[in-house]
């Protein structure tokens, strides 16, 4: 039984425990313990070594292990072991004797109904009472099954810090009941946050976000879930081409389109089309439509900018986000020329992030290299990340070098 399979089972196992009456934090601990046992059993010998784990379970004070076969029914096995871990922990805790009485009355874990209610776990982990940072950490832990160490490494914070963040999050939602669906939009926001964290170290958070969104899309028929999945796939498809080997940024127009992942693009476009057909447009579908138009162009010159402007108009109606209007100005500049783009830009607040970078680009295309160079330098100064700052600094330097006699 490989780790990826085990990890994919975590959310549903967790949900079963919670439904049987375990509180969220205790259930989560029990599932992690069970996972460790499964991995240890798997590492201890060759298949079917996991049977040893089940054997241990049967000798444990819980009695009936449920008879699950770890090879034929890994989920049933995990539930059995996790439930035993939970009962052990509950028993060990004298203060929880009353809860113990309650769980003893529950029927012994038998066969597991094949009902997938992992969905509720997504909503719980994205509960509005959590801060975005906590919601992200809890989602990666409970739904994604990542270890605290893996999450801490991905976010470049100490493990102890992440452990506290997760246990606080668990405490925050410990009183929340898993019986009614939450807000899809919140779940999608959390998943998109994970996606945008990119990757560092062992864990590729973009891939993890896609994996979780795929799972969500299987469980819920919602055009915005499909829209977000399509958007992630379309962005992810271009990832290899977005940076040069030295780590510097390659702008869209200069990217080697041969390095785009056409299978991912095709999948993203297919998902998007099915979502749009439901005629319930939302932000993520509109963003995915724009990404699809970029991905669809054989060359940068053949990009359908007129349609992209139309999608930005839709997006502007759906959100009040000034960044959308900024991106729209770029598209207008491509569709109707740099002067039109600058006119669209003039209506926007110059303090917006990337405003100077957009202005620089439009001025350069309009032939005003002096203004463009100054604005590129200004944009570099305000860039939010290193790759972007370096890119903009090079742009300024390129124009300045050209103007030298």
């Amino acid at each position: 039984m490989d780790e990826a399979l085990l990890r994919s089972l975590i959310p549903s196992v967790l949900t079963v425990l919670v439904r049987r009456g375990a509180d969220f934090a205790a259930a989560e601990d029990a599932v992690q313990d069970a996972l460790v046992e499964a991995l240890r059993a798997g590492a201890a010998g060759s298949s079917p070594s996991l049977l040893d784990g089940a054997g241990e379970a049967s000798s444990a004070p819980t009695g009936n292990p449920g008879g699950a076969d770890p090879l034929r029914d890994p989920k049933g096995w995990l539930i059995t072991v996790a439930w035993r871990k939970f009962l052990d922990a509950t028993r060990a805790d004298a203060a929880r004797r009353r809860r113990e009485d309650r769980v003893e009355e529950e029927p012994a874990p038998g066969s597991v109904p094949d009902v997938d209610d992992t969905l509720q776990l997504y909503f719980l982990c994205a509960h509005p009472s959590l801060t975005p940072a906590s919601a992200v950490a809890l989602t990666l832990r409970a739904v994604g099954g990542l270890t605290t160490r893996q999450i801490a490494q991905a976010y470049l914070v100490p493990e102890a810090t992440m452990a506290q963040r997760i246990s606080r999050a668990k405490r925050t939602v410990s009183g929340v009941r898993l019986d009614r669906p939450g807000d899809v939009a919140t779940v999608l926001r959390v998943l998109y946050l994970v996606f945008n964290e990119g990757y560092s170290g062992d864990i590729d958070l973009s891939a993890e976000a896609i994996r979780l969104t795929r799972q969500l899309a299987v469980r819920i028929d919602h055009p915005e879930v499909a829209g977000l999945l399509a958007l992630m796939l379309l962005h992810h498809a271009r990832r290899a081409a977005r940076t040069a080997p030295d780590g510097s940024l390659v702008p869209l127009a200069a990217q080697d389109r041969g390095r785009w992942d056409t299978a991912l693009i095709a999948e993203g476009v297919g998902i998007l089309q099915a979502a749009l057909a439901q005629d319930r447009l939302g932000e993520f579908q509109a963003q995915a439509a724009i990404a699809a138009l970029h991905a669809d162009a054989p060359t940068a010159e053949e990009t359908d900018w007129v349609q992209i402007v139309e999608w930005y108009d839709e997006l502007a109606l759906l959100t009040d986000n000034p960044v959308v209007r900024l991106n729209r100005a770029v598209a207008v500049g491509e569709a109707d020329g740099p002067r039109a783009g600058l006119a669209a830009l003039a209506a926007l607040d110059p303090s917006l992030p990337r405003h100077a970078a957009v202005a620089a680009y439009l001025h350069e295309r309009d032939g005003d290299l002096t203004t463009a160079a100054r604005l590129y330098a200004e944009a570099a100064h305000r860039a939010p990340n290193l790759a972007e700052r370096d890119h903009l600094t090079r742009q300024a330097a390129r124009l300045n070098a050209r103007r030298e006699p």
């Binding site: 940072a133 950490a137 976010y155 452990a163 945008n196 962005h235 970029h294 939010p384 990340n385």
Partner: protein
């Protein structure tokens, strides 16, 4: 989820409200100050917002490459610098507002007379790794 550096200065920051040099505090006042800083860091560990923090000695030197095959030049202790970092803390918070809120709390550490120093702290965002979406 953004990291910020909180910088405490020996020198170079605007004058604090409770502007009494530390060597003129009572030992109890110094202990109270240290305890406050310690508790602050411990609290941020619990909220999952703490990344790292260290105090720095005031002594330091300028160092410069002096050409192939030669030892680096040192310019002795910082004699002329107007800016001296006393310590730093890295926090990982949801947004800029939270970073400012925490810096404000740290600035309330007690000084002379047990009253908050109201010292100025510098808050600097980390340049992040590139996000996925830049097109």
């Amino acid at each position: 989820m953004a990291k910020y550096l909180l910088l405490k200065h020996y020198r170079g920051a605007p004058a604090p409200v409770n502007d009494v040099p530390m060597d003129q505090w009572s030992p109890e006042e110094i202990s109270a100050h240290m305890q406050y800083m310690h508790d602050f860091a411990a609290r941020l560990e619990k909220t999952g917002e703490f990344v790292d923090g260290q105090a720095l000695a005031p002594e330091g030197a300028w160092v410069r490459y002096d050409g192939e095959g030669r030892p680096p030049v040192t310019d002795g202790p910082f004699a002329e610098t107007k800016d001296l970092i006393a310590g730093w803390m890295i926090i990982d918070v949801d947004d800029y507002e939270r970073a400012v809120e925490l810096a404000g709390e740290l600035s309330a550490a007690p000084g002379a007379g047990g009253k908050p120093i109201h010292e100025w702290l510098e808050v600097r965002p980390f340049l992040a790794a590139p996000t996925t979406i830049t097109e």
